[in-house]
Amino acid sequence: MSCARNTRIFDLGASTLRELNSTLQQEGAEGAWEIHNPAGRHSLAVGLTQPVSVTIDGHAGYYAAGMNQRANVVVNGNAGQGVAENMMSGSVHVKGNAGSSAGATAHGGLLVIDGDAGARCGISMKGVDIVVRGSVGHMSAFMAQSGNLVVCGDAGEALGDSLYETNIFVRGAVKSLGADCEEKEMTPEDIQNLTKLLSKGGVIDIKADEFRRYGSARKLYHFRVDNASAY
């Protein structure tokens, strides 16, 4: 791939993963980086706190760009499970497919997946915006607490199971809704919000009014013995 001037290259064929992460985490790491030969290693570009731009040129293993703050990470390939888990801010863009638990427990920032995401996408998400161009697997947004999950394709079984809050927008078919998740009205405000999210996710060919919105029925917030079978 071509690289912009001033882009620094880090070759994982020649240096270790630990060297990569400590280099990117250091103050003064600001600027653009390209990671060569990722070979599906786990924990690539994790724990970043500097405003760096990192392009992983190839497939990534588990937990890529985990615990991200302020950095913008692009995966030029597929990512394994737990991509962008616990992200606080910044952005992560996966150009291929993502494994299970993408964006798990993430508090903020933007996660964009151009392909499909596996099971439990956005599990326990706490404020992140996730835009998936393809479909998501079963139990996505399980126990999600805050933020937005946008799915341009289909959603697997038990979408939004035991949901607290979080807006879920799905354009395609939903195989089934989980406990305490229900379809909500799409208000003009929701359309506006979704239009912004689609634009942030680089989705320009799909209109917000093609989606349905799902959210919490708010019946399982507190334990009630009458609901025991639903938990």
Partner: protein, 299 residues
């Protein structure tokens, strides 16, 4: 934990590379299973011939074993030694006699697998050492399945290592744990099956063998195992022509697949694919839960 790998070759030009690629994949899965490793390799079957892999061979018993086998098998039989494993070749109609001889031999000798094309090796130690011990790199064939074990529920022994083979040319590797294996084992014993270990994965292998012996196709047998097996599992299963993958409904054990025009590959983690040819342009995806993925060579 545990790691699983599988490679099903579609383009015959790649068959000489099967052992080398499988060996690289196994080595990468060391961190998931450093205790022991095993693999099954499917080569080209020779007509009218059967193969049997036997383990537990040593300098002390090889002489008696070989003499006994040749006596039981007669003229066209052959013995190829790979460390503590041997591969016996003999006329197909002698299968029951050879099986009886191996089972009755004692002295630490155990049946590992038999069929027209399967060879099955396993051992204690790092996956890289186990693969090197049996010269996996040089093996050729149509498909292979491997396992690296991190023992959690039972001792580190060869018997506890995967793959498990409970039927002709069949084998299974498993990542996970089954909760109803004792009940199912009793049922299968009533159906006439025998088990070598207390291992849950052997029961899954036995269940599939039983379904196949009842006339199921591999994909049908896997569909019915979804109803009968309770627990966590990712299975990769091999038969003479086929290769299949199944994950339980929750799919909590990792799995990733890659497909090109030349091969289908399975692994617990993408890392294991990094050295496969053309992986940059492969279709890489996470197999869905409770869906049977299944490939077969033309018989």
């Amino acid at each position: 934990m545990c790691g699983i790998v599988g490679l099903f070759i579609k383009n015959p030009a790649l068959q000489p590379e099967l052992g080398r690629l499988t060996s690289l994949m196994l080595k990468t899965m060391t961190e998931r299973g450093p205790d022991s490793a095993g693999f099954a390799v499917y080569g080209s079957p020779a007509s009218g011939q059967r193969k049997m892999t036997v383990r537990g061979i040593s300098a002390d018993n090889i002489g008696d074993f070989e003499a006994g086998f040749l006596k039981a098998a007669g003229g066209s039989a052959n013995v190829v030694k790979h460390q503590d494993h041997v591969v016996l070749t003999y006329a197909s109609d002698l299968e029951p006699a050879i099986r009886a001889f191996v089972n009755g031999f004692g002295h630490g000798v155990h049946f590992a697998a038999s069929g027209e094309s399967i060879e099955l090796y396993k051992g204690v130690g790092l996956p890289e050492e186990v693969a090197a011990r049996f010269d996996l790199e040089k093996m050729q064939g149509t498909h292979a399945i491997g396992h690296t074990r991190m023992a959690t529920e039972s001792a580190v022994t060869i018997a506890g290592a995967h793959p498990f083979s409970t039927g002709p040319d069949q084998c299974l590797v498993h990542n996970g744990s089954l909760s109803n294996h004792n009940t199912l084992r009793r049922r299968l014993i009533n159906e006439g099956l025998t088990f070598e270990t207390e291992n849950d994965s052997e029961v899954a292998a036995g269940y599939l063998s039983w379904r196949l012996s009842q006339g199921d196709k591999l994909d049908q047998a896997l569909e019915s195992s979804l109803k009968e097996l309770d627990g966590f599992y990712t299975f990769v299963v091999g038969t003479r022509e086929g290769f299949a993958v199944l994950r339980d409904p929750v799919a909590c054990k990792p799995a990733v697949m890659a497909e090109t025009d030349d091969y289908v590959a399975f692994a617990s983690e993408y890392r294991a694919f990094a050295d496969l040819p053309g992986i940059e342009n492969a279709r890489v995806f996470e197999p869905e839960p409770q869906r049977v993925y299944h490939w077969e060579h033309a018989a």
